[in-house]
Subunit: 112 residues, 2 copies
DNA sequence: GATACCAGTTACTTAAAGGATACCAAAAAT
DNA sequence: ATTTTTGGTATCCTTTAAGTAACTGGTATC
């Protein structure tokens, strides 16, 4: 499948991907949610250093990209939760490769 | 190997990786070099829109990360070339996953 | 009645990334 | 002889990402 793509297409898809996951916080938020965290304040405490403003913005972007879902429970008072979508798990092979490369890269750089 | 890592370690490695490849130009430069481009002005023409200042900075960062090498040919006049290192090819599995995910993600977003 | 939790928003500021332009000295092409 | 090419560096400027802080409206607790 990759062989069929021109270099320009590859670049475009690569940039799409980077756009979705890059930035200081997106993957941290996803990781935290992967660990079970699902409420706004809870996420704010769990993702160290993030502010409400930024967290709010990031959550919206993740939602636009269908990686999370914002659910409003019509209990009293309303309960808002964020959940990873099944689709979000499609990131796993890529994220795993990124972790693997990063780990390996540390070793490479520390070589003489 | 990945299973042995704590979530904090995973995050750290992930961020290392993002740090190395993110930004507007790094992967474009690598792709262009993968296509055979190897001289400064040539790269500047090939990577549309990049300025000398930024290209210079990016090349230095890629070199620090051992992904490219700057070679000075002691011909007359000196000839400077940039070359992908063998190490740089270790990025391939990850980059391929990123391209694949990006391609698939376009489709996902265009769904109703 | 004051304080604190929840889920954010708004307006403003700072820091980092990137862009525009000019310039250098040597060599090559016109 | 003048222009162009080479591999950059030096300044200055703009854009974008992220941070600060105050505030909203509602609930719940002390």
């Amino acid at each position: 499948m990759l062989e069929e793509l021109t270099i320009q297409q590859k670049i475009k898809y690569l940039q799409d991907t980077l756009y979705v996951i890059s930035g200081k916080w997106k993957l941290l938020i996803l990781m935290s949610m992967y660990g079970g965290t699902c409420r706004f304040r809870e996420l704010q405490r769990s993702v160290e250093g993030i502010t409400t403003r930024v967290l709010s913005k990031e959550l919206k972007e993740l939602e636009v990209n269908k990686l999370i879902e914002r659910k409003i429970d019509n209990t009293y008072p309303v309960l808002i939760t964020y959940q990873l979508t099944p689709y979000s798990f499609s990131l796993k092979p890529m994220v795993d490769e990124m972790i693997t490369w990063g780990a390996q890269h540390r070793k490479e750089l520390s070589k003489p």
